[in-house]
Subunit: 152 residues, 2 copies
């Protein structure tokens, strides 16, 4: 299985948004019909302009099969450590169960080390039982509560 | 109680590091004797240079009584939403139990709204039972697992 990892371009937005939406929890959060809307376009431009944010597309035989965002955050904590945060990880529904997720996390760990991060972190909705089991299988520990507050 | 919120300067590093270290879980992660070391100084410079990172000091009568880092992260998720992430929150041990934490989170919510974020998020070690109860009291919900992987 040959996978290519590359930064997303503007042309990838529709594919990425449709992967984000193709998910039990993502469906009511995203609007794939509006992938070309200003909201997504402007968000993409801000991401692309920030070298700490790596919105990534995974390709196999020229098709987008997975996506994730890797954000590198600098803290004073831990003697000035850099952390890599993973969010919005999705494998295209057609390509699930083929070990792509495992390869994605091998890439993420290598990329985080290359950037000098001492930790990779993510949060996963407690309802995503299978995802949590998968993250544990690739080396994550659920040591923390992931707490969210939506603003009105 | 009059609190002032301002971005940290280089001169605040020793105060901040000593607040980070003055904590059951932080003690073995930080090295306050080395607050002037290159590691902390370089991390501070990278934080100060990034307008998405707000390392903040809270003052009362000219003394540093609390600190936190607010990181604004742009995603494509949620129709291109911006999130505010809180980390490294500490109130100086001399000033705990006076309601400073509550005021800090009022500030954080207002600041996040001002920047256009739709969500504030944080992770808290499951061992910090009191902290988690406090975060719930100010409006957070522990809907997610906070998963970490330390890199070797």
């Amino acid at each position: 299985m040959e996978l290519t990892f590359r930064l997303a371009t503007k042309e990838d937005i529709p594919d990425i948004v449709s992967m984000l939406a193709d998910d039990a929890l993502g469906a009511d959060r995203e609007n794939p019909d509006n992938a070309l809307s200003d909201k997504y376009q402007k968000a993409f431009e801000r991401i692309a302009a920030d070298s700490n944010l790596e919105l990534t597309v995974v390709e196999m035989n020229g098709e987008s099969v997975a996506t994730f965002q890797l954000s590198f955050i600098q803290y004073l904590v831990n003697e000035g450590g850099l952390r890599a945060q993973v969010e919005a990880v999705r494998t295209h529904s057609k390509y699930r169960g083929q070990g792509i997720g495992k390869r994605v996390f091998e890439y993420i760990v290598n990329r985080a080390k290359e950037k000098g991060a001492y930790m990779v972190q993510l949060t996963s909705d407690k309802k995503r039982v299978d995802a949590i089991r998968f993250y544990e299988s690739v080396g994550f520990k659920a040591t923390h509560e992931g707490m969210k507050m939506r603003l009105g």
